[in-house]
């Protein structure tokens, strides 16, 4: 039995839900159902969907590889300037994605900070699928770090301290105690990162460009398609929404109930 919420909370909550759901209803109402099959199975649409799934999955893996250590350092250590560091690494959350794309361009572009170094190494990032993954990772990483750091702080350090006093080394504690404890948080962070990568558009267009099968992801294809074929754009938007809902649904269904220290 949960204590529930005061009844007056229901009205604004319903208002908020309606604000989010009504636009979704509106776009579903515009979907040209009779041509839906043809619109979403065109070669350009399939290429865009496959590219989006591929790049978003890769970005999510990168987010986990980079984000877990970042969240662990932010949650479990303290060093001077930590607050500033946290704000800075979370900056992509509030940065307009186009600005993020420009920042990436000024870093990894041909004339960017690392451009010449990369050129010497024979690495060409511009207009490649790798650029799409970089743009997506850049905007999605903070989502994973934020949710995981929150989970780490909520879980607390009690079990870790016990494990350490029993002789476990830091790596063992991380592997056997910390990560299993925050697995639900990690999973929801990864889902958020994936969803954000899937919807990424501004940084991709600015940094990676737009070419079918190489850099034109689903959101970019929708943006372009709207120019000539609004029905097609709406149909593809539905695909994007369905994929996102499926991913979020699957991930939350599997999530084990969180058992924090009590």
């Amino acid at each position: 039995m949960t204590p529930g919420v005061p009844r007056w909370l229901l009205a604004p909550a319903a208002l908020g839900a309606a604000f989010v759901l009504l636009p979704l209803v509106a776009i579903v109402a515009r979907v040209p159902w009779s041509d839906l099959g043809a619109l979403v199975t065109s070669e350009a649409s399939r290429d865009a969907l496959l590219l989006s799934l591929r790049t978003s999955a890769t970005s999510t893996v990168l987010c986990v590889l980079l984000g877990v250590p970042m969240a662990a350092v932010l949650a479990r250590t303290s060093f001077p300037g930590q607050g500033v560091v946290r704000s800075l690494v979370l900056l992509p959350l509030v940065l307009p994605p186009v600005v993020g794309g420009l920042a990436l361009l000024y870093t990894f572009g041909r004339r960017g900070l690392l451009g010449e170094t990369l050129d010497v190494l024979g690495v060409q990032v511009a207009f490649s699928t790798a650029a799409v993954v970089m743009a997506q990772t850049f905007v999605a990483l903070p989502f994973l770090v934020v949710s995981l750091e929150g989970a780490l702080r909520t879980a607390g350090e009690r079990y870790e301290l016990v494990a350490a006093t029993l002789g476990a080394r830091p790596t063992t504690v991380l592997r056997r105690v910390t990560l299993p404890l925050v697995l639900p948080g990690l999973l929801s962070g990864a889902v958020l990162a994936f969803a954000r990568a899937l919807g990424e558009f501004g940084a991709t267009v600015t940094f990676a460009g737009s070419l079918q099968g190489v850099t034109r992801t689903l959101p970019t294809e929708i943006y372009l398609l709207r120019e000539t074929d609004v029905d097609g754009a709406v149909a593809l938007s539905l695909v994007l929404v369905v994929v996102a809902v499926l991913v979020i649904g699957l991930a939350t269904r599997r999530r084990a109930p969180l058992r924090g220290p009590s």
Binding site: L105, R110, A126, T206, A208, S210, L211, Q212, L224, E227
Partner: protein
């Protein structure tokens, strides 16, 4: 507590809408113009405000398709100027324009390269040469500048192999300005507006592929008379002069 929520519910819409209406009662003329027209239309709007006291010209620029879509969805607007006839025909077919649109300017494609032309591009043939491996960026065929690029290439019998097909001229130009691309196909007016950020290379082949810019007063205009006057100003001597300075051709 309940009373506070009620007050918030009553006040919220008022707060949300108060920003939009505009406090003064002056006449507002809303002009929608293609992005490439931003510079010259700002000048034309200023001139219009100077000669029409109390009239505030609100200029809103964007992609032609976006602008037409805005009008279709009922956005308040008095005058519409697009970058090609195809988009304007959509507005005409939907009965959104007041009378026939009139062509007031033309535009042709030019090759934009980063300053110093690092890839040594001289013309269209270089772009199609696989041995040269020039990183070319164009507009996607779905948008007017991309359609024009295809027509130019088609007339010359060359096949372009761009590394990216962008949705707008601005995106193409951005890739050239940043040096990511070796060359981009954009309008001559875009090269002019970009100043020193890019160099322009004239394409003799492009002279035959001309984009017409039509303008029309809108059927749902709040200020039909003023709308017509602004259209006349665009088509008149001053409009023509301003547009020519920006690199546009005469119709």
């Amino acid at each position: 507590m309940r009373r506070a929520v009620l007050a918030a519910a009553v006040l919220l819409p008022a707060v949300l809408t108060s920003g939009c209406g505009g406090a003064d009662d002056g006449t507002v003329l809303r002009v929608l113009a293609a992005s490439s027209l931003a510079g010259p239309f700002e000048q034309i709007a200023e001139e219009f405000e100077r000669t029409h006291e109390g009239v505030d010209v609100q200029l809103s620029t964007g992609g032609s398709t976006d602008l037409v879509a805005q009008v279709q969805e009922g956005a308040p607007a008095d005058v519409l100027a697009t970058a090609d006839t195809t988009t304007m025909e959509v507005a005409v077919a939907d009965g959104l324009t007041d009378g026939e649109p009139r062509t007031f300017a033309t535009n042709v494609l030019q090759l934009a390269v980063p300053p110093g032309n690092p890839a040594g591009v001289t013309g269209l043939a270089d772009l199609a040469d696989p041995a040269r491996d020039v990183a070319l960026v164009v507009c996607a065929p779905e948008v007017p500048c991309g359609a024009a690029a295809q027509r130019v290439a088609g007339a010359e019998g060359v096949t372009l192999a761009p590394v990216s097909e962008e949705r707008s001229v601005g995106d193409v130009l951005g890739k050239v300005v940043s040096g990511e691309a070796d060359a981009g196909l954009v309008y001559v007016t875009d090269v002019r507006a970009a100043g020193d950020a890019v160099e322009g290379i004239e394409l003799p082949e492009a002279a035959d592929v001309v984009n017409d810019y039509p303008v029309a007063a809108l059927a749902d205009a709040d200020e039909p008379d003023l709308a017509q006057e602004l259209v006349d100003l665009v088509l008149g001597d001053l409009g023509r002069q301003v547009l020519r300075d920006a690199g546009f051709g005469a119709p």
